[in-house]
């Protein structure tokens, strides 16, 4: 993807601006939401949720990249999938770490398996860590192909797991209302700002990661030309 350098700068700038905006909206603009037990901790919401959504986006990109790679055989699709998986796992880790922080403050419990969203994110996280383990870091064509197959299988299994746990948990009445009740428009705006912010951040990180791959390739090429290993 040959886009000018300025493009990257623009993305970074947008990410920066919107993150600042999100911070402002979350911490200063929005009043303390007294519906919640721990109003201060609730502010995490404005970061936790957008990052979760963007991680799902990242995994969706892994799925598409894998499918395109298998279909066309062009390596750059596999590279996109790999980079996206790395960022996705990173974001998902953030989600899994911040969740319990909020959970402990709000529900006095670090984790609730009954909450389908938690379990889905956790499964996703596991699946894409597995993807990364499989992909390794090697240049091997074969590894890339196998990982692509798994990338597709993994992504399909997530909605399946979701359906399954939804059904399972709805039968067994331990469910308590989950995080988002009805959203006020101001909250919605804060959330939207967060989503925009982290989407830009994801795009920036993805492009940088792809650039690193490219540079790596070039280094390898040069090494071979010189005659080293």
């Amino acid at each position: 993807m040959k886009l000018p350098k300025q493009f990257d700068f623009v993305i970074l700038a947008m990410a920066f601006i919107f993150i600042l905006l999100t911070i402002y909206m979350a911490l200063i603009w929005r009043p303390l939401d007294t519906n919640f037990e721990a109003p201060y901790a609730q502010k995490i919401f404005y970061f936790h949720v957008p990052v979760a959504w963007v991680s799902y986006l990242a995994f969706g990109v892994v799925f598409m990249g894998s499918a395109q790679f298998l279909r066309t055989g062009q390596r750059h699709w596999d590279t996109i999938a790999f980079a996206s998986a790395e960022i996705g796992v990173l974001f998902a880790t953030f989600v899994i770490l911040t969740g319990p922080v909020w959970g402990a403050a709000e529900w006095k419990v670090y984790w609730r398996w009954e909450d389908t969203k938690l379990t889905i994110t956790f499964i996703l996280w596991l699946i894409y860590i597995a993807y990364l383990v499989l992909r390794g870091g090697t240049e091997s064509e074969d590894k890339a192909r196998l990982a692509a197959v798994f990338g597709i299988i993994g992504f399909i299994c997530v909605p399946l797991s979701f359906i399954s746990s939804r059904i399972w948990y709805s039968i067994h009445p331990n469910v308590v209302a989950t995080s988002s009740g009805s959203l006020s428009t101001e909250s919605g705006m804060g959330l939207a700002a967060g989503v925009v912010a982290f989407t830009f951040l994801y795009m920036f990180m993805l492009r940088k990661r792809l650039l690193i791959f490219e540079l790596n390739e070039k280094v390898q090429e040069l090494k071979e030309r010189i005659g080293g290993i």
Binding site: T119, I123, V133, L134, R145, F150, I153, I156, S161, S165
Partner: protein
Amino acid sequence: MMPQAITIAQKDIKTEFRTREMIFSMVVFSLLIIMAFRFAFEFYLEESTAATVSEEVLPLVSPILWVTFCFAGMLGLLTSFAKEKDRGTLDGLMLVPMDRSAIYFGKVLSNFFLILIVDIASVVFFSLFFAFDYTGNAVPMFAVILLGTFGFVVIGTLISSISVNARGREVLFAILLIPLILFTILLPSITATSLALEGRIMDAQVELRLLGAFAVIYIALGYLMFNFVLEE
């Protein structure tokens, strides 16, 4: 394609019964797992205030059985492809003028048959170690085990074909397979089996439908993706 799949399955089963190495290891492994669980739950069983042995063991049956099925089963699933790949016979199968998905289906059939044997052995071992009586509920329980095991084998065969090509295949296989089956196969199976053991198999309709649906989806996935795994 089906005739060749069946031929492959027959070949696998014939070979296995001649050497008995795989099935023997799997059965012994399942025995050890159940034994480990027995000792692990020693304290729990001692402290239990339930009226009868059956009552106090009942909550343990389904989870322990399915964990055993999975781990002992994974051993067999991986070995099936590992042998073909390491001895080079997989190429021989790939040379046959047929839809190569027949290899996948053939393996699913033979794996299902062999793992079912291990499942039955595990059920027997459990009954011995935990002094548990399945009376009356054995048939519905087996129905669930059949369905759940089939789903497990269908996705497990595909994933094993992937992991056999990479380094550290045993661990990789577990890492790849378990997140996928946790909620799609394991959870519904365990629930349905528990309900079956309580005599309430009819309440498990949702779980059974889920298992059926996922088995179909996994077979479709296997059929579509297997060729990509094979080619070089």
